[in-house]
């Protein structure tokens, strides 16, 4: 008897939905084993994670707070991934967006009408994210430089720039040496609607739907699909590859930059340690689990945010490391990747017939 993978004649729609679901369950199971090894009851742990993330409105608003940047970065990263542009620099794009929004909030406020401060801060944050993403983008399109490494290296650079600023030039003179800038003027605060949950949520959700429409119903989206799935054919068909790729990367970076601008204007109200929380990396998991679908990314982002908030919760309640949530997230991609084979292939079991059986 032997097993062979046989190519399916059609893409399995069922597998498309089922694979992420099963992947999540498998991840829960595997992390459960880890928990047992460390003498924690997985059911109790997962229970308190769930309660911590979704158990009350207050907890849920905290989940939403983390879901917002995950939605934006997840949608952005997903767009770049569609073009096989492995942008793993969402973290740096987010940080650079946050830094630029801080710059606007701290230094431009005196010169701007009150109502313009926030829009300008958010706009410049997005542009900064786009520019940060443009570095690997231009290098890739013009010189074919590997974008994975460049975008990743720029994460470190952006984080160090931010550090250099809030430890150095921009440090709050009244902060008694505490690393961080001054508090932003109120005009640069993004309104919150409940707890720390802010209106950025509605923007992120709206952008998810817009992105879906753009990908599926516009000429540009059609070209993105062509270039992403077969750049050679797209070129034969007259699509300008470099232009398509670069425009998508700029948008991808702008999403992350906006996420960073939201973080500083809505959550911290200043630039300080903790802007680089790893959202840009979790975004990769969000995008992949949502199979690069922007609307699905919205929901996956809430789930992933739940794991982060739940992880913090079990640290407080049960003394388990908060990295627990990250382990759970990291674990999801493995069954997800293994499962993606089943959307294109099916497993066939062949028993070797004896020669006599066939005439």
């Amino acid at each position: 008897m032997r097993f062979v993978f046989e190519k399916r004649n059609t893409v399995s729609k069922k597998a498309f939905v089922l694979v992420p679901l099963v992947a999540f369950l498998v991840s829960l199971f595997l992390t459960g084993i880890l928990l047992v090894v460390f003498k924690a009851n997985p059911f109790v742990t997962y229970g308190s994670m769930f309660v911590g993330a979704f158990g009350s409105w207050v907890n849920f608003t905290e989940t939403l707070v983390k879901a917002i940047p995950l939605m934006l970065t997840g949608i952005g990263v997903g767009l770049a991934f569609r073009l096989k542009f492995w942008n793993i620099g969402a973290e740096g794009q987010l940080v650079f967006g946050g830094v630029t929004a801080t710059w606007v909030a701290l230094f431009w406020t005196p010169f701007l009408p009150v109502w313009m401060v926030l829009p300008i801060a958010l706009l410049f944050g997005s542009i900064a994210g786009a520019l940060w993403a443009a570095i690997p983008g231009v290098l890739k399109v013009s010189l074919k430089v590997d974008e994975t490494l460049v975008s990743l290296m720029l994460n470190y650079v952006a984080i160090l720039i931010a550090q250099g600023l809030y430890y150095g030039a921009w440090i709050d003179p009244k902060g008694m040496g505490f690393p961080g800038t001054m508090m932003f003027p109120k005009s640069a605060w993004l309104p919150r609607f409940s707890g720390r949950a802010h209106v950025g949520l509605f923007v992120a959700v709206l952008l998810g739907f817009i992105m879906w429409f753009v990908l599926n119903r516009t000429k540009w989206g059609f070209e993105v699909k062509m270039v992403g799935q077969n750049p050679k054919a797209a070129k034969v068909m007259g699509v300008k590859i470099g232009k398509t790729v670069l425009s998508a990367i700029l948008i991808s970076g702008a999403f992350s930059g906006l996420a960073g601008a939201f973080e500083v204007t809505a959550i911290s109200h200043r630039l300080q340690q903790g802007l680089a929380m790893g959202y840009g990396y979790t975004a990769i998991i969000v995008a992949w689990m949502a199979q690069l679908n922007p609307i699905a990314s919205i929901f996956v982002a809430v789930l992933m945010a739940g794991l982060l908030v739940g992880g913090d919760q079990v640290q407080m309640m049960m003394g388990l490391p908060s990295a627990m949530g990250i382990v759970l997230q990291g674990m999801i991609l493995f069954p997800m990747l293994a499962g993606s084979l089943f959307t294109d292939y099916k497993l066939k079991i062949i028993s070797k017939e004896s020669p006599e059986a066939s005439v």
Binding site: F38, W86, T148, L320, P321, Q329, L333, F334, A338
Partner: protein, 317 residues
Amino acid sequence: MIALITSILAITLRAGTSLIYATIGEIYTERSGILNLGLEGMMLMGAVSAFATVYYTGSLGLALIVSMLTGIVLSSLHAFLSITMRANQVVSGLSITLFGTGLASFLGQRLGPASNGHYLIGLIGEKFTPFAIPGLSKIPVIGAVFSQDILTYIVYLIIPVAWFYMYKTKNGLNLRAVGESPQTADAMGINVYRTRYIYTIVGGTLVALGGAHLSLSYAPGWTDNITGGRGWIVIALVIFSMWNPSRAIWGALLFGGINAIQFRLQATGTTISAPFLNMLPYIVTIVVLVLMTWFETLNKKVGAPAALAVPYMRGEK
């Protein structure tokens, strides 16, 4: 002055050692056609497992073995996903990094003694110490090469052996063929899947050793993100060495050198602020990458194995 150069060279080699282990490991993996972007996660896991072992047992040998086992487990996972399941290798590697980073940080907060709040951070354990080779270590400047710890001495051996094996032996020939043209290798009776499994795992073992060198020798102890992106820098170093193990030394020396200079500047007190100094390795990586790519396109010669990151299935083109 000579003393200064000698000390910079000594630190350079010490800092470069973990890079060389990982670079040679990844060269072997990529030569078989598998791209493993999980290095950062694997090095972190190698480092944390090595340090935890040495803290509890005091045995450096055992620590190396445990970290190698960690590398074997994680690279087998990558091998399974990318070879058997034909998953996207970029995403699989990223997953290993995300998972490895998370798990290493989890273990760093959990494996420690109760007295330290279960944290490994801040503990002190056994470490590899440099020992001088009598005679040779007395040579001016070059002496720095011969006053290292055992892991660095092993690296001196690994480089030529890795080069010889790849270019002068039957197995090396088969390995290169699998990465260049798996269809050909398959038709010639080479087991493509087995070859890829073997070298992905061999590579992963060396990468984990690179991580162990960090927590047992270069910066003894455990801190979150002890690697500081070295796993990613190594991926650039593989390109820099054009997939040739004998050239791995140059990239490692370059980046080891940057580390050493940072060390010196910070020790002497400088006006350049720390964050900007710390950016140096990352910016240099980007510059090196751009120059290498530019150089390769100019020469119309790409050193990358032709089938790198392309899954193989018999009967499919």
